[in-house]
């Protein structure tokens, strides 16, 4: 080969370079993520994420807990899609149990998963504005998210970490008000979502701050394993609700939102568009919740047969994989979560090089990182 071999020296810094620690305590890492930024003036030369500040060894704890208990650990991972995490574990366990899940459960799970996605995207939208300096958006996002939290609270008693799923079905049936309140929320939010566009999407400063910032090509998105809205903004068709439908997603019509540019603005647009799609999914299901049991009959102690079970679902952040290796006991031999945040974070360095300090905040914000999801 005519190409000269690049020599990699062991000196971490060039002349004129310095580093700063962004985090573990920093307003815009939204958790205890530590980024070591190597800078030249204000220009980013390198971003090194350091993890482990909120590691709770959830995977290890799973190995000594029963399958019903494991579900409740998982909403502490990505707490903004708590219900979807629970659902993933339940689906994996149900695969091993080989039980027939009532249709009612599937539909309710799907509705609540989409409400969770909406709540997560609303919070993301508010926080994204705040990261860029427009603090007002934060409270607008929270205003609408509050309604979803109230719906959850009425149905299952919790607002954030809901623990609504159990292997085999749901903890209890939906509240009688659930259908009406969800409809009210959809009607309310259909009026409020265009307000989001008015406040932020059309703003010239916002557009300049996001367009062309943190570009991720489709090839890079695939090789870094970036999934979810961040991956789809680069044109990587990775929506598991379409490609590997679970629960009631095979019964509903919705579009997989794809972007092309792969910059921060594309990621922003994809999420805004996804909120419309989530509302469409809920609207199709909310009037047709089938009658039936809210739980399949299961034994008090679940034992999975010897073997391996894998279930992947689409959380608000991307692909969450649950991998269970069972030796036939009442707890798994090994449990592994493939969390979307971890893979998405790995692309940060690639996207942020050559950008400014402010752009790192933008890129992190559009990746929508939840730190406990990365560390587990």
């Amino acid at each position: 080969m005519g190409e000269a071999v690049k020599t990699v020296t062991n000196t971490p810094f060039e002349e004129q370079e310095y580093f700063i620690n962004m985090g573990p305590q920093h307003p815009s890492t939204h958790g205890v993520l530590r980024l070591v930024l190597t800078l030249e003036g204000e220009t980013i030369r390198k971003v090194e994420p350091h993890l482990g500040y909120i590691h709770r060894s959830i995977e290890k704890m799973c190995e000594k807990d029963g399958y019903k208990q494991i579900v409740h650990l998982t909403d502490r991972m990505d707490y903004l899609s708590a219900h979807i995490n629970n659902e993933a574990v339940c689906l994996a366990v149900e695969q091993g149990m080989e039980v027939e899940i009532p249709e009612r459960v599937k539909v309710i799970r799907t509705i609540i998963a989409e409400l969770t996605r909406l709540a997560s995207h609303q919070l993301w939208w508010g926080v994204m504005g705040m990261d860029l300096g427009a603090i007002t958006t934060f409270l607008y996002g929270f205003r609408d998210r509050e309604m979803i939290n109230d719906i959850f609270e009425e149905t299952c008693g919790a607002r954030l970490t809901m623990n609504y799923n159990v292997p085999g079905g749901l903890m209890f049936d939906i509240h009688p008000n659930f259908v009406q309140r969800t409809k009210d929320f959809i009607a309310h939010f259909k009026k409020k979502l265009p307000e989001y566009d008015e406040l932020l999407s059309g703003n010239i400063i916002f557009r300049k701050r996001t367009e062309g910032v943190g570009v991720l090509s489709k090839e890079d998105a695939i090789s870094f394993g970036v999934t979810g809205p961040a991956g789809r903004a680069s044109g990587f068709s990775c929506d598991l609700r379409k490609h590997a439908p679970y629960s009631a997603y095979d019964k509903v019509q919705f579009k997989e939102v794809l972007g092309t540019e792969g910059d921060s603005y594309a990621r922003y647009k994809v999420r805004i568009q996804e909120m419309w799609e989530s509302m469409a999914v809920i609207e199709q299901l909310i009037d047709n919740i089938p009658e039936g049991d809210f739980q399949a009959k299961t034994k008090a102690v679940i034992k999975l047969p010897k073997g391996e079970f894998y279930q992947k679902v689409e959380t608000a952040r991307g692909e969450l994989g649950v991998y269970i290796i069972s030796e036939g006991d009442k707890s798994p031999y090994r449990m592994k979560f493939r969390s979307p945040g971890f893979s998405n974070l790995s692309a940060l360095d690639h996207m942020a090089r050559g950008a400014k300090i402010a752009d790192v905040v933008t890129i992190m914000s559009t990746l929508d990182l939840v730190i406990p999801d990365i560390d587990r």
Binding site: P27, S28, L132, G133, I135, T136, K208, R209
Partner: protein
């Protein structure tokens, strides 16, 4: 109009003092009285502006703002001030202690110096230089030295980046502020505040100066907001990037000084804008409509001044709570590639307008 004139009051104080003291003692006493008055004004202004910002921002954000301390939370800022006074002043281990302690004072002194030259009402004007505008834009930019020192001495990279940003920003936007004020100086043919106000007796310059005056006003509001490190231009603090920028390591009273200076600087910029473009304490007059002008004169000048200033402050708060923050390179692009050329051409047009006598 004469009942609202402060000239009589100030003259009687001066004469009363002169009758019992030597000229030197009179001067010293008057200095002390004025300094004392400004200190009280500064404090009240800080408290009122902080309260106003919290309330206004709350209403933009679907909240109520402070409600618990006093009626509608009116005593909230006073309570916060007391808390800040009693807080422990912390200094980082390797900080340059002398400069670290000096920085807030430089910032606040520059604010005081600028405040002193503002005309509040007819006759209520501590310093009326013949180069008033030049003086005020000179002293208000001393503050950036304090910010640079604060960032440099606090031994924190975030502070340093914030300070450097602030330096680049204030030095750039100083040009636009100066040039947009110069546009009106061409019209008013004076640098003295009292004469600029007097020249607007027949109508404010923003209405009489055609489109160039409007452009100058817009440029002034943008550049003025940038110069106070506020609103979409708060890069020096940039909470989501630099934690708190140049004042990250400050606490207690020294932090309060930076905080107060920011708000009072906002008042100063708004007051300059109100004086130069909107006629200061001059009531709203239309040409030769004597009857209308007389009705307007019933409203005291001090109300006009604070009303106009308050309106501009509200505009600046509106910017801050609506717009996202600019990036440092976009900030400099905006100034050097857009505002400055627009401004220079605008001045030429204005000079031409004045030369041909086209203004009203």
């Amino acid at each position: 109009m004469n009942i609202y004139d402060f000239t009589g009051l100030t003259r009687s104080i001066h004469e009363g003092l002169s009758s019992s003291m030597s000229p030197l003692a009179v001067t010293v006493t008057e200095f002390v009285i004025i300094a004392f008055a400004f200190m009280i004004f500064f404090t009240i202004l800080g408290l009122v502006l902080v309260y106003a910002e919290r309330k206004i921002c709350a209403f933009f954000q679907l909240r109520l703002g402070p409600m618990r301390v006093g009626k509608w939370g009116l005593a909230q800022t006073a309570a916060d001030a007391v808390k800040l006074i009693f807080k422990e002043p912390m200094i980082t281990k390797n900080a340059d202690k002398f400069l670290f302690n000096l920085a807030p004072f430089i910032v606040i002194i520059s604010t005081f110096m600028a405040l002193g030259a503002l005309p509040f009402a007819k006759g209520l004007h501590a310093l009326d230089f013949d180069i008033g505008i030049l003086y005020i834009s000179a002293v208000s930019s001393i503050g950036v030295i304090g910010i640079l020192i604060a960032g440099w001495s606090s031994d924190n990279k975030y502070s340093l980046i914030g300070a450097m940003r602030s330096g680049a920003q204030v030095v750039s936007y100083e040009l636009s502020v100066g040039l947009s004020l110069l546009t009106i100086v061409v019209l008013a043919e004076s640098l003295q505040f009292s004469e600029i106000i007097a020249s607007q007796e027949a109508g404010w310059w923003i209405f009489r100066g055609h489109i160039p005056a409007l452009i100058a006003f817009c440029v002034f509001m943008i550049a003025g907001t940038a110069e106070t490190n506020r609103g979409p231009f708060d890069l020096a603090e940039a909470e989501s990037e630099l934690t708190a920028g140049f004042h990250t390591e400050y606490s207690g009273l020294k932090f309060a000084f930076f905080f107060l200076a920011e708000f009072v600087n906002m008042f100063i910029i708004a007051a300059i804008g109100a004086t130069v473009f909107l006629g200061g304490w001059m009531p709203f007059h239309i040409g030769h409509w004597a009857g209308f002008n007389q009705i307007m004169d019933f409203i005291p000048p001090i109300v006009w001044f604070f009303g106009k200033t308050g309106f501009l402050i509200f505009l600046m708060m509106w910017f801050k709570w609506t717009f996202p923050r600019l990036r440092i390179d976009q900030l400099l692009t905006l100034e050097w590639k857009y505002l400055l050329p627009i401004n220079l051409i605008n001045i030429l047009i204005m000079a031409f307008v004045v030369l041909m006598g086209w203004h009203f």
